[in-house]
Subunit: 141 residues, 2 copies
DNA sequence: AAATTGTTTACCTTTTTGGTAAACAATTTA
DNA sequence: TAAATTGTTTACCAAAAAGGTAAACAATTT
């Protein structure tokens, strides 16, 4: 699509977390209700929910009176948490993995630049919490 | 692979521009020589060179005594120039295109965050010039 | 036991990535 | 002007990722 693009799956996951974060911690919402709020296709949403659950960002309870709830408070969930659970670690270039050896390693002028940009991105994502998003949301409506 | 990942094609393109930028403006290098310096597969490199040429970042001259040269000085070529020629405009989310309409547009708390991060990234790329990379390279060797 | 809710697995289509190869076009020089 | 040299274009390809569907499965409550 385009470089530095957020995948739809991750975008959807943010919608899910924000929908949950709008309610008091401990509130359980069903997958069906989350579907109505996020507009994500149900079958796809199921897998996103499962991934968020495996990543310990949400907790799930089967059966009647079950549902999904945040695993911790909205202040303690950042955009980076969600991005990394859905996409894996942020890595601008293979050469930023210590173990990797690049044929140009001896004379690579770009590696440190990618490293710096990667730090900038991860810091920006770290600084955005779900409670910030929720308060922006209420100021919109 | 991983989110916020620089594609190999773009990484290769940076190698090409840096290789050219190490010589005085106006110096022509052949595609064959560039292949030896960048280690990019020849057939793939040909297409990368063509794309850089179409993007007016380099100039090409066919025939004997021909070759490739930078279209402007290394101080005037930024990482963003290369990234956008190889990958198209930087766009974190579809919803950042003015014309796009998102079903959540009325109540979307994340759009401005993606917009801010996108600005941060493009500014960082704007601030890196090829002459900076070349001088870092000489300080390495 | 039945109803309700989340989980897992398998499968699918389209697009992107990374690459190869050969024909083609332009320019210089013998 | 023909041959040699150099870049350009096009067609093709395999593997992976993106985005999604659907059905069987497991757990819990009533």
């Amino acid at each position: 699509m385009s470089i530095f693009h957020i995948n739809r799956k991750t975008d959807y996951a943010v919608r899910v977390i924000v929908a949950l974060a709008r309610h008091p911690l401990g509130t359980r919402l069903s997958a069906k209700l989350l579907q109505e709020e996020t507009l994500v296709p149900q079958a796809f949403l199921n897998r996103i929910i499962a991934q968020l659950s495996q990543g310990n960002l949400i907790e799930s309870f089967p059966g009647p009176r079950g549902g999904l709830q945040l695993a911790r408070s909205a202040e303690e969930i950042t955009l980076r948490d969600i991005v990394e659970i859905m996409e894996g670690p942020i890595l601008l270039s293979e050469c930023l993995k210590e173990k990797e050896t690049c044929p140009l390693a001896e004379a690579c002028p770009i590696r440190n630049r990618w490293g710096g940009l990667q730090s900038t991105i991860t810091q920006a994502l770290d600084q955005t919490t779900m409670s910030q998003l929720v308060s922006e949301l209420s100021s919109l409506s």
